[in-house]
Amino acid sequence: MMIKRTLSFVAMAAFSVSALAWQPSGKVECIAPADPGGGWDFTCRSVGNVMQELGLVEGSVQTVNMAGAGGGVAFAHTVSKRADDDKLIVAASTATTTRLAQKQFPGMDAGMVKWVGALGADYGIIAVSKDSEYQNLNQLFEAVKANPKSVKFSGGSARGGWDHLKVLIAAKAAGVEKLPSIPYLSYNNGGEAMTQVVGGQVDAFTGDVSEATGFMDSGDLRVLAVLSEERLPGKFSHIPTAREQGIDALGPNWRGFYMPEGASEESKEYWVAAVDKLYASEEWKKVMKSNGLIPFHPPANEFESFVRQQVQDIETLSREIGLLK
């Protein structure tokens, strides 16, 4: 009896393995929707390398750069021209969901692709210069509450972009009412925005923790809060979260992938499992560590709903500040 059961278990196991055994043959493509050198390009290249190292793919992972419209060109390409491609993944991040939420990809929405998974995140921070009068996030937002125009923020994204939204998420959680009145100065990148804060022209900086590392180390920048659930590991562990200061604000800039909605079920299962395996591997942990990525990986079955929720939240917020009508 015992033997029989064991045998059937083995048979079942063998069966399920073969059912999952779809594997992409030949070359796999990873689209980075930006020029070489940015975050999406990094996602594709490093994931491709680790996947090859781990033997998750048979052939090679080729990174294709497809810049344009903040990811819109690649999104449109995936939806229209590659709708049933089993061997295609596209790098995405919170910037992608922000633009989807604000309808910046005309005629397209988050439901038109399959969201595969996230592989880590870069968390939002709010920081001031070392000479600033604000010692913690509460002091800062008390001042904003008293007069929404009193604290000027600068960040590396356009008005309504992710860096701006992080200020609004935190301000809303802190109970600030006149969100559209909060002054926000947009710069081309985090570096320029920080220059203005360090130079004393602007009061506070909003950005991601990885951008600010240089200025934190040099002591020019005082980080008031990180917008994560718990304190970050390693050298960031001294930064208090917004939550522990009583302001329930989260701002993960996750990095992950989507793939064509029309791809076969087997391939979708395969890619979700591949991202899970990759995330659990030692090799990927090394990559995360050396590039300042922080653990972030919603379970496979929840990622899709996480993305939808994020799109929903950003849409609501964008309406509130009048960016969407």
């Binding site: 497809m66 344009g68 060109v73 449109a76 002054p183 710069y187």
Partner: protein, 508 residues
């Protein structure tokens, strides 16, 4: 002393065999481009940008390559000025005045040698000035807020006339075209789309690099196709070197004066190398007065402008590196390259990207030595290249441009765009509308707009913030002078320049 430490680190970057190789290559190609009439430093750098992308060079190597090309073009410009009486580029115009007469007297080899030495002296003085001034200015630049930046950009626009000021109206038209192109895409201050007509590819605006390569490199090809210059030039005999050591020593004061003056002219935003060589030449003439035979082949008439324009080329890097505001057309192209490499130009580059900044500065020093070595023994080789028919050169340039632009974005849309810019550049040049102000408008326009918007946010909508600090007021005054002076002094200078250059044809 801190600076010296950084400089040593810079040398560590620049002296790796890989970077050294690209510096040498850049210096060589730069000299070549400089000595070909019509191709100036801005074109040279624009042509080499796609190559940097094609080869996938790391940022510091790419910048070292391009600065070497820049320095090389400044050296090369003199060769055709002296031998053909056609300036290889605009800054080398003044070198024609005494260089060509020297060549006619059979002293071409001497003129080439002494001008190489003068270029070296100018470049060295300029680079030392850059090393001393840049870190100080970078610290000072931290105090620049949006209002000060706005005034600074205004100053750069106001002095635009100084760069290509033959017809100020055309300069204004060119700058306006540049600003108009720059408004396409998302407006980061409001998050709204402008002039994108629902075309996804336009959402992020028009890439500077596309515009630069199209305007400069592709239009050059179209000009060639039109003129069908297939034959090349006749071989030129350089003659023997008769330059004595005594003569060389006697030009040292001229070299120093020229280099320092050129550097100062280069630092002023908008002025650039042409002004550097012009001022150096004029001053030298004033100082020596009747003792010299200027215009008839005086050796110091070759030394002064060459020291001046090479000093200015290093000087022009100062505002570009410290403030992110280019002082000349070529530095505008270099700035665009920095932005494409994801490096934020400005005061913080000295702390955040110290390896790149100091690597480039060290490469400039090494490059100058290389250029001197290249230009004295190899001058015969460059002279021979002057007689290579352009039918072999330009197709290579075009091929590199296409491959390079495609390798940046893998988008055929970008290639069409580049060609469109090339065709536009061709017609603009036919209309004698200068191209450099277009690039400056394209680069500076959005920055000026952004800083105006930011200043108004900071002041809650009160315009008085724009002249709220003494620094801003100072910049406004200089901008005002920059706008007015060319009308007062300009015609005077131009008359003199024309009088001095009676017979020499000038090509841009």
């Amino acid at each position: 002393m801190e600076t010296l430490g950084f400089l040593m680190e810079g040398f560590a970057v620049a002296l790796t065999p890989y970077n050294l190789m690209f510096a040498l290559f850049g210096a060589f190609v730069g000299t070549l481009i400089g000595c070909l009439p019509g191709l100036g430093p801005a074109n040279g750098v624009a042509i080499l940008i796609p190559l940097a992308f094609t080869l996938g060079l790391p940022p510091e190597t790419a910048m070292i390559l391009l600065t070497a090309v820049y320095a090389g073009a400044m050296y090369g410009g003199r060769i055709s000025s002296i031998l053909l009486n056609i300036p290889g580029d605009e800054p080398a115009m003044m070198t024609c005045l005494d260089g060509y007469p020297m060549a006619q007297k059979g002293r071409a080899a001497d003129a080439l040698a002494i001008s190489a030495v003068a270029s070296f002296a100018g470049g060295l003085i300029g680079t030392i000035g850059l090393i001393m001034l840049a870190p100080i200015l970078a610290k000072f630049a931290l105090t620049f807020g949006p209002a000060e930046y706005f005034a600074l950009f205004l100053l750069a626009f106001a002095t635009l006339g100084g760069i290509t000021g033959k017809n100020p109206m055309k300069t204004v038209i060119a700058a306006t075209i540049g600003i108009m192109i720059s408004t396409v895409g998302i407006d980061i201050s409001t998050g709204t789309q402008r002039y994108t007509f629902g075309v996804l590819e336009l959402y992020e605006g028009i890439d500077f690099i596309l515009a630069i390569v199209g305007l400069f490199a592709i239009s050059e090809l179209l000009f060639f196709v039109e003129s069908r210059v297939g034959g090349g030039r006749e071989k030129i005999n350089v003659g023997k070197l008769t330059l004595s050591f005594k003569e060389l020593v006697s030009t040292i004061p001229t070299q120093l004066r020229g280099g320092v003056l050129g550097f100062i002219a280069g630092v002023l935003p908008g002025a650039g190398a042409s002004l550097g060589s012009f001022i150096s030449y004029t001053l030298e003439k004033q100082v020596l007065g009747k003792k010299g035979k200027f215009g008839e082949g005086d050796i110091r008439g070759v030394v002064a402008p060459e020291a001046g324009n090479n000093g200015a080329s290093s000087g022009a890097l100062v505002p570009m590196l410290t403030l992110g505001v280019p002082g000349s057309g070529t530095t505008a192209v270099l700035l665009a390259m920095l932005i494409s490499l994801n490096i934020t130009p400005g005061p913080l580059m000295f702390t955040q990207n110290a390896d790149i900044v100091w690597g480039v500065i060290a490469a400039l020093l090494i490059g100058n030595v290389m250029l001197l070595l290249l230009n004295i023994p190899l001058v015969g080789f460059f002279v021979k290249l002057l007689s290579v028919p352009p039918m072999y050169l330009l197709p290579i340039v075009t091929m590199v441009a296409f491959v390079g632009i495609y390798s940046i974005s893998h988008s055929t849309f970008d290639l069409y765009f580049m060609v469109a810019f090339g065709v536009a550049g061709y017609f603009l040049r036919k209309l004698e509308i200068p191209l450099v102000p277009i690039i400056l408008g394209l680069l500076l326009g959005p920055e000026m707009e952004k800083n105006l918007g930011h200043a108004l946010i900071l002041s809650d909508g009160s315009w008085s913030i724009l002249w709220g600090s003494s620094l801003a007021v100072g910049l406004w005054v200089v901008a005002g002078l920059g706008l007015v002076l060319p009308y007062v002094v300009g015609p005077l200078l131009r008359r003199r320049m024309n009088a001095a250059m009676k017979e020499s044809p000038v090509s841009d």
